[in-house]
């Protein structure tokens, strides 16, 4: 607390105001966060144990959860979400790492490349969905002529947004995914890639040059340097990137909305989209609350994991001076 030397001469009120200044500075933020974040989270918990009956809200215990798990679509959505997350996170991380490696050499045009590569990230997810849709709209899309050509994609060409999913290999688990799901993964990767690339690039640049030099002098080739020196040193950032991709993938609904609308059939219906359809299309708020709670719990797990990783590795900004 900073105290001016003349503080003793001031009136009591002024001193009190000064001492409580941090409180007043923080008050609006805290009030807003309590209203918009904390209260709704508690409300969701309450909601998941209640259901709307003609006479009002009644406590139904775990019924919402039972009914949610009883829906065939739930298990299927979990499958879609898993397929989406694994595809999206691994593709983005691998591509991001490779591009970051290329950008890590100081080139004359690095700044230009970073700027151009970064454009996809600032375009809204709903617009990205629409743009990718415009490319493959059945019959009229820009690339539909190529994709729907039976000579290139036997037997009848590929209509990305309407093709039925292939027969699942493992029971009901939706793998291999429908073309629309693969396309959704590609579109999401396209948008998330710049962010992950920059994050990994920043981490890469903090790897001390001497460490790299000395491992090279010890006879490690480029691949060994990457595998045994760089990746271990960058691991905290890679984990943070992975958690953040999973978090945004779990909850990002805009692209599903504008690109596939959950279809064809239910082949791109992920949990976030299912929450929207139960809540706002079927108006089953209790069941939607149960689903929101489940998604929220996964989110909290991911957030807690991220915090652990960043704190454990000497995150400087949270420390006391």
């Amino acid at each position: 607390m900073i105290q001016a030397p003349q503080a003793t001469k001031r009136s009591k009120l002024q001193r009190w105001l000064q001492r409580s200044l941090p409180f007043w500075l923080l008050l609006p933020t805290v009030v807003i966060l309590l209203t918009v974040q904390v209260y709704p989270a508690l409300y969701t918990v309450w909601l998941s144990f209640h259901d709307r009956e003609p006479q009002g809200w009644v406590y139904v215990g775990a019924q919402n959860f039972e009914r949610l798990f009883g829906m065939g679509l739930f298990a299927e959505s979990v499958g879609h979400t898993l397929v989406f997350l694994v595809g999206f996170a691994s593709l983005t991380l691998v591509l991001g790492f490779v591009i970051a490696l290329l950008l890590n050499r100081r080139l004359r045009f690095s700044g230009l490349y970073v700027t151009l590569l970064f454009i996809p990230w600032i375009i809204a997810d709903i617009i990205v969905g629409i743009v990718f849709r415009l490319l493959v709209v059945p019959d009229y899309g820009l690339f539909s002529g190529i994709l729907q050509n039976p000579a290139l994609f036997p037997p009848d060409g590929l209509s990305v947004l309407t093709a039925v999913p292939p027969r699942p290999w493992f029971g009901d688990f939706p793998f291999p995914p429908a073309p629309a799901m693969i396309y959704l993964i590609l579109a999401s990767t396209w948008r998330a890639l710049p962010f992950v690339t920059l994050l990994l690039l920043a981490a890469m640049q903090t790897v001390p040059n001497e460490v790299l030099e000395s491992s090279r002098i010890d006879g490690a080739n480029s691949r060994q340097v990457i595998r045994y020196v760089m990746i271990p040193l960058m691991l905290p950032t890679i984990v943070v990137a992975l958690f953040s991709l999973t978090l945004s993938g779990m909850n990002g609904v805009g692209m599903v909305f504008s690109l596939t609308g959950g279809g064809p059939g239910s082949s791109t219906e992920v949990l976030s989209y299912m929450l929207y359809s139960i809540g706002w299309r079927q108006l089953e708020f209790g069941r939607a609350g149960a689903l929101a709670l489940l998604i929220g719990l996964v989110n909290w797990g991911l957030i807690a994991g991220t915090l652990r990783v960043t704190r454990a590795h000497g995150e400087p900004s949270g420390e006391e001076q």
Partner: protein, 310 residues
Amino acid sequence: MHSPTLKRRQLWLLNSALILICLFALIPVAATVLISFKGERDIVRNPPNILPCDTPTSAFDPTQCRWATEGYQRVLAPKPTAGALLPWALTGNIVRVYIPNSFFYATTTSLLVVLLAGMAGYAFSRYRFWGHQTLLVSILAITGVPLLTNLLALYQIGANLRKAQLPFYDDRLFLVVVYLGFFLPLSVWIAKGFFDAIPRDLDEAALIDGCTPVGALMRISIPLALPGLMAIFLLTFVNVWNEFIAGYLLLAKNELKPAMFGLYEFLSQNIINLQVVAAACILIALPIVVIFLFARRTFFAAMMEGAVKG
């Protein structure tokens, strides 16, 4: 890995790989621009052609391209008017209602976020008080919470508030408060980081010279933190502009809809008219892309500051 001397050939390879990646990354953007300048005649062709430049006699003749602006015309819907500043007025809903609404939401939210996050970040950076670390970590944890799971509750709160018919209340106010709640936490962290970077000695020197704490804040800290506050403003502006789901679920009246909502409806009204949808996408994304290109350094600074946090 910085090898001291990259061979010329390596350098050439590296540059061409990066140029290829950039081109590949920009294909969807270029394709949208291309589609937006096609005419209806070329949009509804089956099988589709990529460039509208074919003639009955040749597959590609660059002198015969049929570029058209009808996509933009149908989004903007200009009507000639007398007495106005311009010879025509733009009557399309997207430019007349939705984009101005988005400007309103984005500007209001960003200004408030800058103010509140600036206050909170300053408090966290300059004072130690009871619960300092707990509150800071709680805000960091909230940063990660996505909008989606809270929307059920917010939707019902919004519906109840609407029913209560409070004076001076409308859905716009509610949406701005919701956006504040979602974009404040990250900004508080960014602001704290920027205030931390300003040496405390400067404040203390001002205080010793007889400045009040508020005076020191106004004369020393805020001017020095200005680039950081600017970064928060821009980041929030882009986030609000691009946000879809909250606006979609929390607003009911047509005249209050933000651009993303309008665009989504536009998509279902123009299933076949791809050139119109493409033109609308470009018009809505353009302000953000322009802001980004002019202020990219500020962006990268804010994002990296925020990204390592959560």
